[in-house]
């Protein structure tokens, strides 16, 4: 690279710099395109009703009123509790069972291994909408309709295969021979696992948990068709009920605040674990 630059004449260098500037400008444009919607809704959520539609990017009058309103309604608080509880439980179950299965896939040889990963992928790709009618019917008969388990179970159905698939890709990269080496150095099986393997596997498990949590947290389809009251309705669905109701004069501010609240955890995940999430997503496609 350096050799090339040295050989170039000054005009060549400036051309390179100009290209660099063009690329960087494009970069900024895309960053703005990606971020504006998120920032815009954050801005709306801090505006007073009077300045809501003034088109200013930065609110002229800041207010926390919208947040106070949503947090003072059962409708939202209850939905937030539902969202957190349901997503956490589904994630925990999917990650624990997924870790066990992925360990078997990555470490052990057994007949039908290829089939297992294939089936996981098949389920992960399955159109959720196809299961909505049958699940509605089944859950009504079993008394699961409009309950926490009524949402947790379908989430696990789709999150577990996703976890198995993602974790298998992670676990395949772990240098398992280290375990053997530790045992040769006198560590017991349990010590070898705890001191050597667990720290190596933890990032993959953690990343998978984030991906699975995002899936459960963002779901709208199941949450809308398998719930009917505040008892189990999650925030994305509660949000769609904000409109049309006369509880708020103009629901825009309240909706914006609620949308910000459900987006905050997601943004935090991305902010802190961006590299891990990306590696979790690309692991299956890109080897390396």
């Amino acid at each position: 690279m350096t050799a090339v630059t040295h050989d170039r004449t000054t005009t060549g260098v400036s051309k390179e710099t100009r290209a660099k500037i063009t690329w960087s400008l494009l970069d900024i444009v895309v960053v703005v395109f990606a971020l504006v919607p998120v920032l815009w809704i954050a801005s709306l959520s801090f505006k007073t009703p009077a300045t809501l539609s003034d088109g200013n990017f930065i609110p002229r009058e800041w207010t926390l009123e919208n947040y106070r309103v949503i947090f003072s309604t059962d409708q939202f608080v209850r939905a937030l509790i539902n969202s957190i509880g349901i997503a956490l439980i589904a994630t925990a179950v999917a990650v624990v069972l997924g870790t066990m299965a992925a360990y078997a896939v990555a470490r052990l040889d057994f007949p039908g291994k290829g089939l297992l990963v294939g089936v996981s992928l098949l389920i992960a790709m399955f159109p959720q909408v196809s299961l909505v009618s049958p699940l509605f019917d089944i859950e009504r008969r079993l008394g699961l309709f409009d309950t926490w388990p009524g949402l947790i179970l379908p989430y696990i159905t789709f999150a577990l295969p996703l976890a198995i698939y993602t974790l298998s890709a992670f676990f395949k990269q772990i240098p398992w021979d280290l375990e053997k080496a530790a045992k040769m150095d006198g560590a017991t099986q349990a010590q070898a696992f705890r001191r050597v393997i667990a720290p190596l596997a933890a990032p993959g498990v953690f990343t998978t948990a984030i991906l699975v949590f995002i899936f459960c947290w963002n779901d709208f389809l199941f949450a809308m068709s398998l719930t009917s009251t505040e008892q189990s309705r999650t925030v994305p669905v509660a949000l769609s009920f904000f409109t049309g109701e006369s509880q708020f004069e103009d629901p825009t501010g309240a909706i914006s605040a609620a949308a910000v609240v459900i987006t905050i955890p997601i943004i935090l995940f991305v902010l802190f674990f961006q590299r891990r999430i990306v590696s979790g997503l690309t692991n299956g496609a890109v080897k390396g």
Partner: protein, 303 residues
């Protein structure tokens, strides 16, 4: 299975049992949770199952393939199927073009700029579909939206015309899905041997040429995977259409199979018909996924 009572556990045999115990919990959860609803889906699709049957007022009745023949003879089904295919195809193309262009862009800018871009993109990717749909709806609001204000088109309704509405929903979907394509292709480009691109540059290839002649051919397996993942993703778009066009647009002009199935089942209480659409959906995506699995296997990914 019989090894359990085969006297003192021989080490080798104990080891062959381990996978079973590790896989059993996942299988025990997945099989009933997945297989039973699919069985139920097939069953509902051959039943006369509407509001009256849900409330128990009337007995369910086996009607064979009537739901399917009804569906096949409905002009709406065919127009929705077409719309779904065209919409998904357009989305895949745009997402891929945007994602690929940005993956290349990431290789050209400074590390800091690349990091910022991928951070912003991942935020868009991970944002709930509901948040995305809501914000874009506010941005494109007929009277109060920022976009109409900037363009000076106040009063312009973005969801009135069929194509406008599809384009608006499409923009949101691309906003949500380009980051995946971008980061995957970028990871692929970074994994390429550096000398290859340098050699192309030394040979006088401009960025455009080296992209099409070097990067694309070498990334073919990853591109195939990204394309199929996008097809599957874009075929299943639900939230954005449902929320932004209020359940499928004016007179159902923006319905796709996904929303159509939901609408038949839940809005019209035609659960049998909705299930038949669900079966059609399932078969289409099954075919795409099988192609995907074959590609994975061919690209050497050990399954």
């Amino acid at each position: 299975m019989t090894t359990i009572d085969a006297g003192p556990a021989v080490k080798g045999r104990a080891r062959t049992l381990t996978p079973l115990w590790l896989l059993l919990p996942a299988a025990a959860v997945l099989l009933p949770l997945f297989v039973y609803p699919i069985y139920q889906l097939g069953l509902l699709s051959v039943l006369d199952f509407r509001q009256a049957q849900v409330s128990g007022g009337q007995p369910t009745r086996f009607i064979g393939l009537d739901n399917y023949t009804d569906l096949m003879s409905a002009p709406r089904f065919w127009s929705v199927l077409w719309a779904t295919v065209l919409f998904a195809a357009a989305l895949v193309l745009v997402t891929l073009a945007v994602g690929a262009a940005l993956a290349v862009l990431l290789t050209k800018v400074s590390r800091w700029a690349a990091y910022t871009l991928s951070l912003a993109a991942m935020a868009a990717w991970a944002a709930p579909a509901m948040t995305g749909s809501t914000v874009w709806m506010f941005l494109f609001d007929t009277n109060l939206g920022l976009v109409n204000r900037v363009l000076g088109w106040e009063g312009h309704n973005w969801t009135y015309e069929r194509l406008d509405a599809f384009a608006l929903v499409g923009a949101v979907v691309v906003w949500h899905s380009f980051p995946f394509v971008m980061v995957t292709l970028y990871a692929g480009i970074k994994a390429l041997p550096e000398q290859v691109l340098e050699a192309a540059q030394l040979d006088g290839a401009n960025p455009w040429q080296s992209f099409w002649r070097v990067t694309v051919p070498m990334l073919r397996p990853i591109i195939a995977i990204v394309v199929i993942q996008s097809i599957i993703w874009d075929f299943k778009i639900f939230t954005q259409i449902y929320v932004m066009t209020n359940g499928g647009g004016i007179a159902g002009q923006n319905l796709t199979l996904n929303v159509y199935a939901y609408q038949q089942a839940f809005a019209s209480s035609e659960y049998g018909l909705g299930s038949a659409i669900g079966v059609v959906m399932m078969l289409i995506l099954l075919a795409v996924t099988l192609v995907y699995l074959r590609l994975l296997r061919r690209s050497g990914e050990p399954l």
